[in-house]
Every structure is written in structure tokens, then in C-alpha cells.
């Protein structure tokens, strides 16, 4: 469904992506792992047109994303930003219902609010959070509001950028289950970035590892333990020693 073909992206002398090739199939849950600063967030932003790759092509349903109509295209996607990216000028429920209050998916105010409260409940937030402002919430709560916003309009494809970072272990478990549920029940195609191996184990059908600007390894989650790739082994086991250099 999503195909990356030879994607390059540099910021000045910082060559972040150096020829990424990756395929995500429809209805599949792909998890992208990789060290901090390897360009995972940059990679998913290229799909949404938030960052233009220097070269290479991205196909969604076989169509080059630079050739499609932006509005219709974007309405198929949901995105959870790493930092939440909530609109601080509006209360939580309007953040969640943003898409349902304007444009093609517009509904009556009361209905939009109801859907927002329902989505908040799914990410473990009580209805009284709905009328508070994002700045009044803890980091983990903001993350969950961002998650509720990403799933609110029931998109076909959802990107989760570190959905469990900053959450306690129990809430992480809830969110992992939720993402799994969305993929299984609603047939959503999900791409999740995470450092959390528990998330990988709960969410992933397939795992791709980004390292030094390319996909170092990609395969089924069940094969990850026997990948034979020292990079993957080092990452999974969290070893300081190995082929992935750490600065100390």
C-alpha cells in the first residue's frame, strides 16, 4: 500500500536518509525501530508531504504522492506526532474532533463532541478532560489526546510516532492493545515508530530497522529473534557493545 523507493533526504551536511526502500502492505502493522536521530520521524513525514525528499519516490496504492489531490489524500491518514502537536488555542475535545468540525467530514457540534469523548475514553481519558486545555494536561495525557485525534476520523492509514513514550507501563500496555485492536478490528494500515520492545511485541506484524539512513533489516516480527543481524540483536537486547556505535 505504501512503497518507499530510494528515498534520500539531507539537512545541510546531515545526510539523514540515504536510499530507503520499504513496502507496507494494506492492513498490516509495520513497526519501525532504530536509534535516536536516525530519521524515523523524517521518514513518515515524507509520506504526508510535510518534508520533501531530495530524491526518490513514494507510492500510495501505486500512485506517486506528488501526483494526487492533497485534500482527499490526506483525509485517508491519521498521524500521532512525537510531541503531541495539540492545538493549544482550543480545548481537548475540539482538538480530537478537529476533522469532524470542518471540511468534508463536518458533523453537528454535539455529535462531534460525543465522538471526541468516546475516542478519549478509548485512550483511557475521562470525559472531564474534554473541556480542559492541552497545556493543563501532563505529557502522557497530551500524548493520549494526540492519539485520540489521530484515530478520531477513522482513517485507513495511521502513523504513530512513539505512542508510548512518556506513559507508565500500564498505560503503555493499554495503548499497545488499542493500536493492535484498531489494526485487527478496523483493518487499518498502521506504521508505528517505537523504542519500546514491549510495543514491538504487541503491535508488530512486521518490523523494519532504520540504521545509517537505510533499512538495515526488514522482516516478520516472528523472525526478528532469528534475524542473524547483529544490529537488530543489539537493539532488541539493548546492549551497549555492538555494531551500532554509541558516543560516550
Amino acid at each position: 500500500m505504501i512503497t518507499f523507493e530510494n528515498i534520500f533526504k539531507s539537512f545541510g551536511h546531515n545526510h539523514v536518509l540515504r536510499g530507503v526502500n520499504l513496502k507496507v502492505e494494506r492492513g498490516e502493522s509495520m513497526v519501525i525501530i532504530g536509534g535516536s536521530g536516525t530519521g524515523k520521524s523524517v521518514l513518515i513525514k515524507t509520506v504526508l508531504g510535510l518534508i520533501q525528499p531530495d530524491s526518490g519516490q513514494i507510492l500510495v496504492d501505486g500512485q506517486d504522492i506528488t501526483q494526487v489531490k492533497r485534500d482527499a489524500f490526506l483525509s485517508r491518514f491519521g498521524m500521532l506526532f512525537q510531541g503531541g502537536a495539540l492545538f493549544d488555542s482550543m480545548p481537548v475535545w475540539q482538538n480530537v474532533a478537529f476533522r469532524l468540525q470542518r471540511g468534508a467530514l463536518k458533523r453537528p457540534m454535539a455529535e462531534a463532541r460525543e465522538i471526541a469523548i468516546e475516542k478519549l475514553r478509548r485512550v483511557g481519558l475521562a470525559p472531564d478532560v474534554a473541556d480542559r486545555f492541552p497545556a493543563e494536561l501532563s505529557g502522557g495525557m497530551q500524548k493520549r489526546v494526540g492519539l485520540a485525534r489521530a484515530i478520531a476520523a477513522e482513517p485507513e492509514i495511521i502513523f504513530f510516532d512513539e505512542p508510548t513514550t512518556g506513559l507508565d507501563p500500564i498505560m503503555s500496555g493499554v495503548i499497545n492493545e488499542l493500536i493492535r485492536e484498531i489494526v485487527v478490528e478496523m483493518g487499518v494500515t498502521a506504521v508505528t515508530i517505537t523504542h519500546d520492545m514491549t510495543s514491538v511485541d504487541t503491535i508488530a506484524d512486521k518490523v523494519a530497522m532504520l540504521h545509517r539512513g537505510t533499512i538495515q533489516w526488514c522482516g516478520a516480527h516472528t523472525d526478528m529473534a532469528q534475524s542473524g543481524d547483529p544490529h537488530v540483536d543489539q537493539f532488541v537486547n539493548g546492549h551497549a557493545e555492538g555494531p551500532i556505535e554509541t558516543l560516550r
Binding site: L48, L50, F77, G78, M79, F81, G83, F98
Partner: protein, 258 residues
């Protein structure tokens, strides 16, 4: 010497490029005015912020400036044995120049800075990216309502500033300089022409547009982090103030040299 010329040339070229980018940005904004959707709620809240909430500061600056103007013209006019020109000169000075310029500079300080800081913060915290992923064009949702509000609020603010400035002059002239109130008003009315007032309104439109446009432009193009927000805010106010004064000169030249 060559170094100085080169530095001058460089900054001229930079300025021309910057102007080109502003114009492109303005045209892009314009292209969104007539294409749906139109975000009414954003527009009204921008109108409130640009127009209504600017009234106190605009009113106060105009009041004091009009009052000072009356004193100056009285003392200056006395040297030519013509102190009685106070109402006419206050009216023409406020309506043609000071009213619009005061409004322009005040909204550059108040509105441009707040728009730039808000948008730059949104950019830095990825809220602009989030808008895009929610199928909402930032140009349409953030920029167009604010610029349109500037365009519409500008002339209203200028009308208020003109009137209050003249009123400030009136107070000083009638209370301390012993002018006759009725004559003061009649002299003001008779002296001002429709062209004076229209030029004042036109300047208001231009300055309101420039102020909001600069805030949006620098906000959306800000760099990273808190520092980026600071730099964007500072640059936006500078650019707005300079462009407003330059536009004032051009408009004055167009209206009053023919």
C-alpha cells in the same frame, strides 16, 4: 571601500529578494480569499484581536498626539502671526499622516508581534504540520482570516485615530488656548476634503494588510526552538514598521503630488 560597496550591494539584493518573497506570500494569501472553505470563526476572532482590542492603545496614542500637535502648531504658528491655523493643521496632520502612521506602528507593535509569536510557536511545536495532516491548509485557516481582518480593521482604526486625534487637539485648543469650540469644529469640517479622508482610509487598509501579512510570513517561516520564535517576532515587527513607513511615503506621494 570595495568591501563597503559589496556589503551595501549584498543587503540591497537581500532586501529585494525578501520583498519578492513577501509579494509571493501575499499573492498566495490572495488566491485563498475566493476559494472555499472560509473559516468564519477564525476570521471573527482575528477581527476581534486586530480591531476591537487595538482600540484602547490606538485611541490613547492618537489623543496625546493630537493634543501635542495643537500645542506645537499654536507656538509655531505664533511666530508667523498665524496661531489661528491650529484646527486646520491639526485636522490635516492627523488625517493625512499621523492617524494612519500611528495606527500602522501600533498594530505593528501589537498585532504583528502577537501573530508572529503565535504562529512561530505553532510551527516549532509541529502544530502547523498537524494542521496539514488534518486536511486544513495553514494559508487558509491561519493566514487568510488574519490578513483579511487586518485589511478591514485598518481603515476603521484609522478613522477612530483621526477622530480622537482631532478631538485631542480640540480639547487643548479650547481649554488652554482659548479657541471657540464651535468655530474650531466648523474650521475643521470645512477644511478637510473627501480626498483627505479617502487617502486616510486607503492607508489604513494598506497598513492593516502589511502588519498582519508580516506577522504571518515571519511566523510561518520561523527557525527552530524558542530562539526561532524570538527571532521571528523581532524580524516581523521590524519589517512591518519599515514597510508601513515606506508604504506611507509612497501613498502620500501618489495621493498628494498630483
Amino acid at each position: 571601500m570595495i568591501l563597503i560597496v559589496r556589503a551595501l550591494g549584498r543587503s540591497c539584493i537581500d532586501a529585494i529578494f525578501a520583498l519578492g518573497r513577501f509579494v509571493l506570500f501575499a499573492l498566495a494569501t490572495l488566491s485563498h480569499v475566493f476559494r472555499p472553505p472560509f473559516y468564519f470563526r477564525e476570521f471573527f476572532s482575528a477581527l476581534l484581536n486586530v480591531g476591537y482590542l487595538s482600540l484602547p492603545v490606538v485611541g490613547l496614542t492618537a489623543l496625546f498626539t493630537g493634543a501635542a500637535l495643537a500645542l506645537q502648531i499654536y507656538s509655531g504658528g505664533s511666530r508667523f502671526n498665524a496661531p489661528e491655523v491650529v484646527p486646520q493643521i491639526v485636522a490635516i496632520g492627523m488625517v493625512r499622516e499621523l492617524g494612519p502612521v500611528l495606527v500602522g506602528l501600533m498594530i505593528a507593535a501589537r498585532v504583528t508581534s502577537s501573530i508572529a509569536a503565535e504562529m512561530a510557536t505553532m510551527k516549532v511545536t509541529e502544530q502547523i504540520d498537524a494542521l496539514v495532516t488534518l486536511s486544513t491548509a495553514p494559508m487558509k485557516y491561519l493566514v487568510m482570516p488574519r490578513v483579511l481582518a487586518g485589511l478591514m480593521a485598518g481603515p476603521v482604526l484609522v478613522a477612530v485615530a483621526d477622530s480622537i486625534g482631532i478631538f485631542g487637539g480640540f480639547i487643548v485648543a479650547t481649554q488652554t488656548l482659548s479657541f471657540n469650540p464651535a468655530n474650531y469644529i466648523i474650521n475643521t469640517m470645512n477644511f478637510l476634503t473627501t480626498a483627505d479622508i479617502l487617502s486616510s482610509m486607503a492607508k489604513g487598509m494598506a497598513f492593516g494588510t502589511i502588519a498582519t501579512l508580516m506577522g504571518c510570513y515571519y511566523g510561518l517561516n520561523s527557525g527552530h526552538g524558542a530562539q526561532g520564535v524570538g527571532v521571528a517576532t523581532k524580524a516581523s515587527v521590524q519589517a512591518a514598521a519599515v514597510l508601513i513607513l515606506a508604504a506611507n511615503f509612497l501613498l502620500t506621494a501618489v495621493f498628494f503630488t498630483a
